[in-house]
């Protein structure tokens, strides 16, 4: 064999490795939240609607619930708002909102204008609770079991498809017999 062909042959071999590596790369890039299977991080936040009654993790006990991290400054939050309203209408799982790094007046006028999908909204002004929850960026939605453990986390805007594919089966599996 022509020895001057060897570099090309080595390169072809390398390409094969890179191609296989590339195929497998997406699996690595999905980072599951380290919180999954663990108790939801505790928080006590000022209530957006009623300053005398703080929103705490106690609101997540005893039934399935969603924790949705949002802000009026967040573009995708607006995109998912309609979906959250529809989830509220189904009345299967109450949504607790964490209004992240936002102004109260902005949040109140946003909810007045677009409708309020939330059962309660806690305001996380300085973003400390979001850090405890490992939030990368709004919106993020967590599914919390009746025992108060984090079951699933969705990063980015919620869609009906995600809701039906990822959330409902998890809730349905254990919730329907008791519900």
């Amino acid at each position: 064999m022509n020895r001057f062909l060897l570099p090309l042959a080595a390169f072809v071999l390398l390409l094969a490795v890179l191609l296989v590596g590339l195929k497998r790369a997406p699996e690595k890039s999905i980072l599951p939240s380290p919180l999954i299977g663990k108790a939801a991080p505790h928080f006590t936040l000022p209530n957006l609607f009623d300053t005398t009654q703080p929103v705490t993790t106690a609101a997540l006990q005893g039934h399935w619930s969603l924790v949705n991290v949002w802000g009026t400054w967040c573009v995708e939050c607006r995109a998912e708002h309609e979906v959250l309203l529809q989830i509220k209408q189904q009345a299967r799982v109450p949504i607790v909102g964490i209004d992240w790094k936002d102004k109260d007046e902005d949040a109140l006028s946003w909810l007045a204008q677009l409708g309020n999908p939330y059962e309660r909204v806690g305001t996380d002004r300085d973003g400390r609770v979001a850090i405890d929850w490992g939030v990368y960026g709004a919106p993020e939605t967590f599914l919390i079991s009746p025992a108060g453990t984090v079951v699933y986390k969705h990063i980015g805007a919620m869609t009906l498809e995600v809701w039906q594919r990822e959330f409902l089966p998890r809730v349905g599996a254990s919730a329907s017999p008791g519900a």
Binding site: F4, V12, V17, G21, L22, R24, D126
Partner: protein, 657 residues
């Protein structure tokens, strides 16, 4: 509107790059000399539009235009102006724009120096650069457009990664890219020589200055990156064998080999096909590095944009550029190979050893970098390759290589033996050995077995590099720039070896929890923790500790290590405090608040660590000295010889088909 102009400018640059590639490659192939005139113009126009696009993106950052997605993702109105400019290369899209800008700068430099080259050859080289530019412009426009809008716009941006908010980050990527991308010129010249199937060795002569300049930039860029990691990542390491560090180090190793084999090809007409292969490999490794960093196949602390869809695209580009060049090599190298002999102990054979050992070293790094990927591809599970593999395996080829440097510098061309250099070489070796033993047993106690060996090698390289200049000065001879440059670069190498040797064997490191008033002893130095206070920065809050260092009771320095929390991203950043000195660094970094006023601290004493970076810098200075000095000498010689009509010969022969 301005932003769309930037986008449009980038598209125009793509058109011009295509024109440059088309006329540059087809003009000579179809024997159309008149087509060649379009090539330099296309290259210049391309540079203008790429510069314009870059200026537009800078403007978007400076004016806080958060309707641009890239700006919204990587800047914030609270970010200081300086970092809003450097945020340009803070993530993937902007880095690609910087890559292209640097490539067009090198292209422009080649255009400016093309009058020394035969027209067809220059056009072909510029054509190859046009192909590369086309590929990267296409990639940027199609998969990573920095001008993409975010609609509706956000009120404020997501902020620049705090690790990158540092002055060293302002210069590290541009200089690194100057080196990385600079090898594209050597690559283009090699391709042009192969397309023409040149049997002479003039192409090696033309390629030398370009290779040395790119190599010098790369040395500076790598050293800067290492220095930045040392104080910014907070834990005092200066080299982690991280895939991205390796991606810049491999082209540098091959570039070093290339410089030396070019010397042989230029002077003696030997190693031709090998030199061509090295020129192709150096740039291929740069491209591969780009692929590894950008596609997310390797998980690294550096990979800020992992997107597999980009990976496929880059892979396609690799096939075109590297595959094309290697195919050309397989076809043309057989006719270009050289046939001449040399003695076993001649300059040629030492440079051959240098090449082989450097290539093995690069292969060691390559294997270690790709091993996790290969293991994963074969389904063998996750494999983590770190310093325990790299440090010893890298030494296996590198230590013999370094031991031969002093001899290689003084071996004669063609003829065997060391000639009259034998005696001074033996004397310098003896002196180095004595000095090294004194250093490793006297000054720096508790040495490892390798300490005196490393010190001897480092000192020997420095002393041997000084022999030639001193000899010439004593005899009242002029010192040519090429000799001066080589000596300086080798002195830099020696300084680097000394630094690495003592840092590796005599660093003292302690992780310890201290209450205010308590102290820890590291060698002769006492570190006392004096407490600390909360602090407030422009876009962060944090805690600043105070550590007083004394040596035998005499005050040495007071350090203020910080732990910062950046508001926007909520990232916690450890900023180590370093008392830098010529012969040692003392470092303190804050770990965790362990309660009751106590903090866990990382304290370090690192001897001679500055030598590592100073050595790299001296190497780069040596390279630049050789290129610039030689250029001056040549233009002086050409001016002196002009009346005799010899200047025409400098241009080499005209274009061969």
């Amino acid at each position: 509107m301005v932003v769309e102009l930037g986008h449009y400018a980038l598209i125009l640059a793509l058109m011009l790059a295509a024109a440059q590639a088309f006329f540059g490659l087809l003009g000579p192939a179809l024997q159309r000399p008149r087509w060649l005139a379009a090539v330099p113009s296309a290259a210049c126009g391309q540079f203008v539009f790429i510069a314009l696009a870059t200026a537009v993106l800078v403007h978007a950052f400076v004016s806080n235009d958060f309707s641009v997605k890239y700006v919204a993702d990587n800047s914030n109105s609270a970010l200081p102006l300086f970092y809003r400019v450097t945020a340009l290369w803070g993530a993937h899209e902007g880095s690609m724009l910087l890559w292209i800008l640097v490539l067009s700068l090198w292209t422009l430099a080649l255009v400016a120096n093309a009058q020394h080259l035969p027209p067809f050859f220059a056009a072909r080289a510029l054509g190859v650069l046009g192909v590369i530019s086309c590929c990267f412009l296409l990639f940027t426009l199609l998969t990573s457009n920095p001008f993409a809008r975010l609609i509706p716009a956000v009120a404020d941006g997501h902020d620049l990664n705090p690790v990158l908010q540092d002055p060293a980050f302002a210069v590290h990527p541009p200089i690194l890219y100057m080196g990385y991308v600079g090898f594209s010129v050597s690559f283009a010249l090699a391709c042009a020589a192969m397309i023409e199937g040149r049997r002479d060795q003039l192409w090696a002569h033309w390629m030398r200055p370009w290779t040395v300049m790119a190599w010098a930039f790369l040395a500076c860029g790598i050293a800067l990156g290492s220095w930045w990691a040392y104080y910014e990542l907070g834990w005092g390491g200066f080299w982690f064998w991280d895939p991205v560090e390796n991606a810049s180090f491999m082209p540098w190793l091959i570039g070093t080999a290339l410089i030396h084999s070019l010397a042989v090809t230029d002077k003696r007409g030997l190693f031709k096909s090998w030199t061509l292969l090295l020129a192709v490999t150096a740039f291929s490794l740069s491209l591969l590095g780009t692929f590894l960093v950008r596609s997310g196949v390797l998980v690294s602390v550096h990979s800020f944009a992992a997107d597999p869809s980009r990976g496929i695209f880059i892979l396609g580009l690799l096939v075109l550029m590297i595959g094309g060049a290697l195919g050309l090599y397989a076809w043309r190298a057989p006719v270009m190979k050289s046939a001449a002999g040399f003695d076993f102990i001649s300059r040629e054979s030492f440079l051959l050893f240098n090449n082989i050992l450097l290539t093995i070293a690069a292969a060691v790094v390559f294997g270690g970098t790709l091993a996790p990927l290969i293991a994963d591809s074969l389904g063998l599970g996750t494999l983590s390759v770190g310093p325990p593999y790299f440090n010893p395996s890298f030494l296996v080829p590198i230590l013999p290589m370094l031991s031969l440097v002093a001899l290689g510098m003084h071996a004669r061309w063609r003829r065997g033996g060391l000639g009259e250099a034998r005696r001074p070489l033996l004397v310098t070796l003896a002196v180095s050995l004595l000095l090294a033993l004194a250093l490793s047993l006297g000054v720096y106690a508790h040495p490892l077995t390798l300490t005196p060996i490393g010190a001897t090698v480092g000192l020997w390289i420095i002393l041997a590099a000084l022999l030639d200049p001193i000899d010439r000065l004593r005899r009242g001879l002029r010192l040519p720039a090429s000799v001066a440059g080589m000596s300086i670069a080798h002195i830099g190498l020696g300084v680097f070896v000394l630094g690495i040797t003592f840092v590796q064997s005599n660093t003292i490191e302690r992780d310890i929890a201290l209450k205010p008033g308590e102290a820890a002893q590291l060698g002769a130095y006492q570190f006392r923790y004096d407490g600390g206070q909360d602090i407030m920065g422009p876009n962060y809050e944090g805690f600043r500790g105070q550590v007083s260092i004394t040596r035998n009771g005499a005050p040495v320095s007071v350090l203020y290590p910080e732990k910062r929390r950046y508001w926007v991203q909520g990232t916690v950043q450890t900023t180590a405090a370093i008392a830098a000195g010529f012969n040692r660094d003392l470092l303190a970094a804050l770990g965790e608040d362990v309660g009751a006023g106590a903090w866990s601290l990382r304290l370090q004493y690192r001897p001679l660590i500055r030598f590592v970076w100073i050595g790299a810098l001296i190497m780069a200075i040596g390279g630049v000295t050789a290129v610039i000095g030689r250029r001056r000498e040549q233009s002086l010689a050409a001016r002196a010889a002009l009346p005799l009509g010899a200047a025409g010969q400098l241009r080499g022969e005209g274009g061969t088909p």
